[in-house]
Symmetry: C2
Subunit: 344 residues, 2 copies
């Protein structure tokens, strides 16, 4: 059994990328060999300078060619969108390096971009490497965990799940994309002009569930609605008055013909407890057997996305060539051992 | 893509085996081509006669050679014990057929029988086929589901989980092996002479969790204790008086050195609600993030074991040769589609 450490490049050093880089520095089975970021002021620095720590001996570069040769896996955190990430993905795959992406659309790129997915699959196979998109949601709580819950199910007729979180810890950018603090009219205008997006990843989650179980979903409809507060809610210097918008209630329904077979809810707001709502993940599988699951609080989003990306490194390194989804691989699990891929 | 149905033989037609056979008859992606059982009165019958249905055109035989040729997968339900199942497993593998077993010890046979596990692995590879052990527990709720819950975990320091069920629906054989209705003295004597066994599968679950996460568990200790009822509990014609035993509280602790890193509880009793205990599965992952999960009621045991075995058929058919654990494969999921293995 090969015990060498997996050589990884972190691509993208925003908040998520820095978090993943720090985590990988702490994992015995992973050797972080470089980082890529387009910011000119990072170019040529030691990664420790970017992380605000002592030097770690890992170079940061704006030129991928400096670090891709000899790498086993790139973990990329640059955007939510497949088409925007495509040039970087093609460059990495063509260099013969595997990829873990946290772009939401990459969790199941065939859901909204089938031609891009086919191209990524072909290029990966041509170069004998694999790629996968993961994250807490999509990629884990509202799809992989649901699929796993059906491991013993004899029949599944309908799935309904909800992820209730609190946006209070997040910055202004996130609050803006969920419409926090707007009036109902401003919210409607923001949805219309694309500045209020709600959750990114529902078509991908529905696709993962449908494909994993063979549910035959043929159509996904989404609704983005304001959560109008009945009470005053404060977040730092932002006040949501009664009648204003505390967040965004995003729902996706996957239909097979006229039947609703997958219904996913993701209400994201500041201080849900102000109106008595507990944060958590709630999943019901209707069928044989019927299963009701809850977590409380919700599985922490930012932490789990970074963890998921890092935990997937040994899975994509061991995978057969091509485009994978998380449901196609043995489940990623916390990497607590010395060798990241010492498995039978 | 090959769309032919997977050809399966059901081996063992006890209660579980009959349930799995019936389920497979209903799955479009599976073709049940035969059934094996040693009972002379079943030999030569149509499976429908054994199931109590109309004829289904599937032969039941006491002679495996009648049905193994041409089969893709055998689902075997004959015993809990690896060594007892070994001759049948070797015969099936040697015929070039993959195996899904619900023997509890087969969930991780290396946990208690490393030489047998090594032999099964070698024979499977020699014949180009694979085998795996699954079930609701071990194989799903207290190991695979726990491992999946850590998919986004950055650190895991300790895992504690409990599965609380109600034995009331089970027959006298199950109640006896859990000591229901005994006095505390009779319970102690039953544990000593092996007639009261508690749960079978904890060393296997701990091994699966430890291997999946790399927790380095080096020792498993188990405790089997009576659940002494404070109230009168009735099950059909059996009465448990206050002071008598309502069931068995089985605990396993996996240690790394002196640290308890995995703690699993499985109190099995009749009518737990009589003393205010709700049935359910309860999992806590201590680490980053901390995760608290519960289901209520518990994921139904008998149904989910049969479902898990059938849902694993396409996974073991697609696996590389050798002995697998459920953590080594993409998670089994409910088979609701037309083709049991139409996956990318």
């Amino acid at each position: 059994m090969n015990q060498r450490r997996i050589r990884v490049v972190q691509w993208g050093l925003g908040a998520m990328g820095r978090s993943m880089a720090q985590l990988m520095l702490d994992k015995e089975g992973i050797e972080l060999v470089g980082a890529v970021d387009a910011l000119p002021e990072y170019d040529g620095k030691d990664l420790g300078d970017v992380l605000g720590t002592a030097p770690v001996g890992v170079p940061v570069t704006a030129d991928p060619d400096q670090v891709l040769p000899g790498a086993d896996v790139v973990v990329i955190a640059t955007t939510s969108w497949v088409e925007k990430q495509l040039p970087d993905l093609l460059r990495i795959l063509s260099a013969g390096v595997n990829v873990v992406s946290i772009a939401e659309e990459m969790a199941a790129p065939e859901a909204q971009h089938p031609e891009v997915a086919a191209r990524l699959d072909a290029v990966a196979k041509e170069h004998g490497v694999s790629l996968v998109g993961v994250g807490v949601n999509p990629g884990f709580v509202l799809d992989l965990l649901i699929a796993t819950l059906t491991a013993g199910s004899q029949q599944v007729t309908r799935i309904e799940a909800s992820r209730v979180n609190d946006l209070s810890p997040y910055g202004q950018t996130v609050l803006s994309t969920q419409g926090v603090g707007t009036t109902p009219e401003q919210f409607a205008a923001g949805v219309a002009d694309g500045s209020i997006v709600g959750h990114v990843g529902f078509p991908e989650s529905v696709r993962l569930i449908s494909d994993a179980l063979g549910l035959g979903v043929d159509r996904v409809e989404q609704k983005v609605e304001p959560i109008i507060s009945k009470v005053r809610r404060e977040v730092r210097d932002l006040v949501v008055e009664p009648g204003q918008v505390a967040g965004c209630n995003h729902t996706a329904i996957g239909y097979r013909g006229e039947d609703e077979v997958v219904v996913l809810h993701h209400p994201q707001q500041v201080h849900p407890e102000a109106e008595g709502q507990s944060t958590g993940d709630y999943i019901t599988i209707f069928g044989v057997p019927e299963i009701h699951l809850s977590t409380g609080p919700e599985i922490a989003g930012g932490i789990a996305t970074a963890g998921m990306a890092v935990n997937t490194v040994p899975r994509i390194f061991a995978a057969t060539p091509g485009l994978k989804r998380v449901i196609d691989l043995p489940v990623p699990t916390a990497l607590m051992g010395g060798s990241a891929y010492e498995r039978r």
